[in-house]
Amino acid sequence: MLSDEQLLRYSRQIMLPEVEIEGQEAWLNARVLIVGLGGLGSPVAMYLAAAGVGSLVLVDDDDVDLSNLQRQIVHHSGRIGRPKVESARETLAALNPDIAIQTLCERLSPQRLEELVETVDLVVDCCDNFATRFAINRACFRHGRPLVSGAAIRLEGQVAVYDPRQPDSPCYQCLYREGEEEGLTCSESGVLSPLVGIIGSVQAMEALKVLANIGRPLVGRLQLLDAHSMDWRTLKLKKDPQCSVCSQVG
């Protein structure tokens, strides 16, 4: 049952026929894991908090650095040197005191990740390394939790949803194979700040859609952005029948 304050706070989305009270309650009752509170994690966490996702779990083992602030908008100058998850918690609590926030300032072991994924309804991958991306994908498919995956660097972004609850959904490992050398990071290659805002906002939108069962999420589709020309490209993904992760499911 929504309070009068909640009805007012969330009124502009509750009025949408796709959302209504039912959708808002789905968000308020949801628990979402956000891995990485950097460029993508910033808009994801802020939009999910603002929209009233009732419980957020924030994971990042890094501290806020001056060079982050050009794009990691959940942090600010007064938080330099402090853990990103604590900085994010303060911003999100000020944005919406209505939600619960759990913070973990650690690099999750695969086992810890598995335990955590099992406790949430959805995972948003905003991390900055391939090892974690593959580990998150495995944990999500093992425990049947939808995964909203985003990545961005330079002027290029990629975003997709992998949903183990759908038998024909591919997974991240159907698209890329594990074991290649590490990719470039934003600190090595650079990134134009609104790019992570765009991709992170798409991730937040997809997370809200999946949680409230709205529209057609990006399952089985990879959305690519070339911000240089502002061209979006939609590519169709296929479940790999040989995939060691998702072929075990469904």
């Binding site: 990485g36 950097g38 460029g39 993508l40 994690g41 991958d125 905003c126 991390c127 900055d128 390394n129 391939f130 991306r133 985003g150 990545a151 961005a152 660097i153 330079r154 002027l155 290029e156 972004g157 990629q158 159907c174 698209l175 890329y176 194979r177 594990e178 074991g179 290649e180 050398e181 590490e182 990719g183 470039l184 990071t185 934003c186 290659s189 990134v191 992570v196 690519l224 070339d226 240089h228 020309s229 490209r233 939609t234 590519l235 169709k236 993904l237 296929k238």
Partner: protein, 89 residues
């Protein structure tokens, strides 16, 4: 002729703008491109000539089925798109 396009970063890094080739399969189209640009081959394929793990190829918007031999067939006007995994967050 099939058109072969690489993501903007690959194009900038490896100098591989969109090209058109007569080719019946993805492998054939890539071989034509590699003939013109040897650096490209080692970036896209591993030492066993399989697709590298961080690379994905799409034909007419659909992910290819055969990552080992790249035998996916092309239509005369197919569009091949090559991209790499991004890890930045």
């Amino acid at each position: 002729m099939a058109t072969l396009t690489f993501t903007r970063h690959l194009d900038r890094y490896l100098d591989c703008p969109p090209r058109s080739f007569e080719a019946a399969t993805v492998a054939e189209a890539l071989e034509r491109a590699f003939d013109e640009n040897q650096r490209l081959a080692s970036y896209i394929l591993d030492d066993q000539r399989h697709l590298r793990k961080n690379i994905a190829i799409f034909v007419d918007g659909h992910m290819i089925r055969d990552r080992r031999h790249l035998s996916d067939a092309l239509a005369p006007d197919s569009s091949i798109y090559v991209l790499q995994a991004l890890s930045g967050g």
